[in-house]
Amino acid sequence: MRAGPFGVAAFMTLGVASAALAQSADTTLAQEGIFNRPFITSSGGTSIGGYLEGNTNWFVEDGVGEGFSMELRRFNIFLFASVSPRVRFLSELEFEHGTEEIALETALIDVRLHPALVFRAGILLPPVGYFNQNHDGPRWDFVERPLVSTEIIPSTLSEVGAGLYGKAALGSSVVSYDVYATNGLGNGIVNNAEGRTYIPAGKSEEQFAEDNNGTPSLSARVAVRRPAIGELGLSWYGGAYNSFQREGEAVDASRRVDLVALDAGVRLGPVAFRGEAVMARVQLPESLGEVFGERQWGGHLDAVVPIWRPKLAGYRDAVVALGGRVEHVDFNRGRFASTGRPIGDSVTGVVAGLSFRPTDETVFRANYRFDWSRDLVGNDRTRAAGLQLGFATYF
């Protein structure tokens, strides 16, 4: 699939059209995602919570499988404190695959000056797209995170920085904004073992201590939510990523990474849609050649519809839902100089899923996914498919 900008336009059109037809939607702004968690209350002292998610995997790639396996993906602990009526603290400590990877994903303080003006500082989640600020496993009806949100938008992207956010009523709508300055991504975008431009590899623990180039990255998102419709957000993240100066001396040219994302979440009758599309542009040294993509894009569209509300003792809100996802990521939108033909390096996936929520906070998921990968030179390289059973729960 080489939809490129047309694909982005399609996602945009779908989002806007869906919004126009929508009948109802949840009322939480995307920017409130990190506080819209159970066990976190706006009053009282300190509270603790978190979530746990795990799943099984059975995948086959071109007829060859590794068999059946189980993984415990994440065990995340939230610590929340309402320091004062206008000051609150939140942190999130993530254990991925047991203790294979431990990361402080969030540690921030919010100082509310006005609903339209809140100051935030610490390790925060830059508002690029929807998913990054709303990535908790129990919220989603699919085992895997959207490819676009992990392969191009490097969710979970958490960076040290500060900024402002807020919301204001505009007629019957609510308009929200976020704007932050953070240390940004680093050299790994090109200095990686992927052999391609890979934005997620630009994340680095070292960036929590010091910016590698002394120039902060900026991120911003504006969104509009109509209570009866849903939310449409437009966001941008950009800044220099490479270490272009050392001890005050220029050692390389400064190069930027920029991401522009459009996200939408709407409800059409019983069907909840959630989609996100992003275009990325990465300035590259010419010496890396066309194998490294200067332009990338990707998107996903999820649809989830409740199909049954079983009457189970003690589970008043239990619901079974069907879901579907289509997604695509193109790591290199260029053309080969040697042949004039499009560069490949993309993956397209479809997912069909069934979920069961005994309560809002807990989900059991069964997914079947099929991926088509196109290699760099444009061959239909691999077809992979698999079944996943998983669970995720807040606690």
Binding site: P285, W308, L376, N379, L387
Partner: protein, 417 residues
Amino acid sequence: MKLGTVGLMLIAIASTGCDALAPGVPTDDEVLAGTIEGMTASQVGQHLAGDEEFARVLGFADGLGPIFVAASCEQCHVGDAKGHPSFNLTRFGRDVGDRFDPMISFGGPQLQHRAAPGYPAEVVPAEATGVTRLTPPAVTGLGYLDAVDDTTLIRLSDPDDADGDGISGRLALLDPSELIESSLALEASQSPTPGSQGTRVDGRFIGRFGKKALTVNLLHQTVGAYHQDMGLTTDLLTEDLVNPLAGARASDGVADPEISSGVVANVVFYLKTLRVPPRRNADDADVRAGEAVFEEIGCASCHVPTLRTGRSNLAVLDRVEFHPYTDLLLHDMGPELDDGYAEGGAGTAEWRTPPLWGVSLQERFQGGQAFLLHDGRARSFEEAIEFHGGEGAASREGFRALSPEDRVRLLRFLESL
């Protein structure tokens, strides 16, 4: 929706079985990769370990570069097939009258046009008189070619055209070097007949791999590719590649060797044990008739259909017949394919006969379009044949003179390879 409906849906999904939901194995004639049949479990294990290394993408922190062409073996040899022109190697040099200068002080003979950020990539110097571009070859079946005894190549060679057929295949004779001797010695230490390779002819060694037969065996080829294509050091080539025009010998700061001897051994084993490319429709009447035409017009004089391996410690490669359609010798292909670049024992118009096995499958791995000949300049078999000059000119003329029916048969035969 009621519980029963959901249950029925789940039963329906389950009844299809997991296999029905999974992509199947590509058929044998769709892929080139695969092991030689009859290998032991431990040999398959080593093959797969080599496969993993062959596919492994290396980063600058692993030692890639600082100047390089590709970041993994597989980037060039996608699916073990012939590569895409975007990964063509560029080699250059200059004619200085009595010899061909590989222009080492300019970064020659191979261009590394890519570099780590902040490091200068190489460019072809203006002083170069010969520049060639080489499409990465397929790597399937290489173990068979590696296992052919030197005596076979000597027997096939006919440098003075003693048989008068207009074909004068020449051994690619390479001046001795520490690298060649080490590569041969290491391989000989595992051979039941140590003297079967590494034969000196007029004091020089016989090259058999590479477009101009610059390397003597797969070990030599592998460490050379790690070094020249990826900027990675091994036990046999311990110095990192640098761009001489950068004016400094500083490289990547990764301890050498960047690729261990174990990894090299696994990759060499992987290459040795890749199966031969599968034939398709070999028994079709047109294909068989086309093969007869192939021989009648002299193609088989260079693209020798059948060779035999010598003794090998690998039972699957021990004294077996195979059908590569090459003689592994150098041939003068005339001005049509003369890039003005000489290398090793090969002149500017000389090329080692490329094996034709798997040739019809390669477009599946080149993005759906075939790029034939040494640099991918030909897009069809007919075009490739038209580029044959020199020793290939008679066959080209034979092809031009074929009836339309015989042309089709010949093409059917090539499509079966």
